[in-house]
């Protein structure tokens, strides 16, 4: 088995509003690019085969699995990670704040992906039902929370009461 040539590529991707440039192997996934090349370690790796959702980021505003994309594919596009969700340094978005208030996380590992999924949900649907919230985060696995308080947090962020104590 001969190794094919793998010429390095230069990519330019707007990440959290800032144009970032790096030289990468084509096989570098978007999540590895963000973490290793840009030092944005807020996006996490959980499975590397597109199931757990811990690597979720917004690509041109849509949530995608960053482990299922190569950085070279995203050249010239824009990406938002968890580090780009807060309105400003030292502040939290409404959703991030609601996550804290409703205790919607424990170990924090799935949290960036959850926030990305929920941000997208609220951008499309400002008053989601419980079923819609669960569907929106259905592709983000969590082993700590049992999802209850995450659902509560989204309801809180949208001015709806939490159903369960």
């Amino acid at each position: 088995m001969s190794a094919p040539t793998s010429p390095l590529a230069t990519v330019e991707i707007v990440v959290n509003g800032t144009r970032r440039r790096a030289v990468v192997e084509p096989r570098t996934t978007l999540v590895d690019f963000l973490r290793d090349h840009l030092g944005l370690t807020g996006t996490h790796v959980g499975c590397e085969h597109g199931i757990c959702g811990a690597c979720s980021v917004l690509l041109e505003g849509d949530p995608v699995r960053a482990c299922c994309l190569f950085a070279v594919q995203v050249d010239g596009m824009s990406v938002t990670t968890v580090e780009g969700l807060a309105p400003a340094r030292g502040q939290l978005s409404k959703l991030q704040d609601a996550f804290c208030e409703a205790h919607a996380l424990q170990c924090g590992y799935c949290t960036p992906g959850m926030l990305i999924a929920c941000h997208d949900l609220l951008a499309r649907n400002p008053h989601p039902s419980e079923a819609e919230i669960r569907e929106a985060i259905g592709g983000n696995l969590c082993r700590c929370t049992g999802y209850q308080q995450i659902v509560d947090a989204v309801k809180l962020a949208t001015g709806q009461g939490a159903a369960h104590g």
Binding site: V64, C67, F70, A117, G138, G139
Partner: protein, 295 residues
């Protein structure tokens, strides 16, 4: 799980894709949504030497809705299929199928062509293509264009009729003209969004008296490819879709399945599921219930 090394080209046109595929043969692979391909590459089960990215080609994202058929570019995103009301009116089975596919994130990137080219025996879109007798349009540098019926396109698990130098460019979905068209897609998986342990799809056209005038039925996840049953569908014509008939047709179809076994579901169970789901699909379609079944 890092992919084996490969070279990468972003296609500038479809001709560019075809030229690369012709030059590199089986060593080059087009990449669209990547939701199936990239995990396989991460596990080193797929090792193309060259990836040709086709995501940004406008000629593969077209959607022409005509009176007799819909011509859909291969890199149409699954998400867009879900949300297109005009498409849903003329090929309602597509939305019924896509709603079972994966999750929001995967449908944002996953493409219709990608799912068909991947040809997982449990996948929803290949079943829909087979049931509707869709036509796959393959392009290559050498032959120009080749139109292949779904039944000839889906050959075996993960194996299609796509040649090494060919790229799936479009899918033609037949439109059933006239009133009284209803469809249903049923599936059982352990979790939402998983591949089905078994699935069933049907599209019917009933006249004003409720008599079936046109039918297409199929099963997924119970053989090496999805299965369609034109002869059993023909047996529905001129009849009312009643429980006894639906049951018998479904049983017969399931009897012809060749399901496999895995830790989640053994063959006998899958065969049984297939019969149950096809019966339910027929009855639901006949009753004209449009919504996806609740979990």
């Amino acid at each position: 799980m890092k992919a084996a090394p490969f070279a990468f080209i972003r296609a500038e046109s479809l001709d560019h894709v075809l030229e690369q595929l012709a030059r590199h043969g089986g060593e080059a692979k087009p990449i669209a949504g990547g939701q199936s391909l990239v995990p396989m590459m991460a596990m080193r089960l797929a090792r193309p030497a060259l990836l040709v990215d086709i995501n940004r080609l406008p000629e593969l994202k077209t959607l022409e809705i005509g009176p007799r058929r819909v011509v859909m570019g291969a890199t149409s995103r699954q998400r867009d299929i879900e949300e297109n009301a005009a498409l849903n009116r003329v090929v309602p089975l597509l939305r019924e199928a896509v709603r079972w596919v994966g999750h929001v994130q995967t449908r944002n990137r996953g493409t219709v062509g990608g799912s068909l080219a991947h040809a997982d025996p449990s996948a929803e879109l290949p079943l829909a293509a087979l049931v509707l007798d869709a036509t796959l349009v393959l392009r290559s540098q050498a032959e120009g264009q080749r139109r292949v019926a779904a039944t000839d396109f889906l050959i075996a698990p993960m194996v299609t009729a796509t040649g090494e130098a060919e790229c799936l460019a479009a899918i033609e979905w037949p439109v059933w003209e006239g009133p009284g068209v209803a469809c249903a897609f049923e599936e059982v998986a352990i979790r939402h969004g998983d591949f089905a342990m078994a699935s069933a799809a049907c599209q019917l056209q009933l006249d004003a008296a409720g008599i079936c005038r046109r039918a297409a039925i199929g099963l997924g996840g119970v053989a090496g490819t999805p299965l369609a049953f034109p002869d059993l569908a023909a047996a529905l014509l001129g009849r009312r879709i009643e429980p006894r008939l639906a049951h018998d047709i479904a049983e017969e179809a399931a009897a012809r399945a060749e399901p496999g076994s895995d830790p989640h579901a053994d063959a006998e169970y899958r065969r049984h599921l297939a019969a149950v789901l096809l019966r339910r699909a027929l009855l639901r379609a006949a009753a004209g219930v449009p919504a996806m079944a609740a979990a």
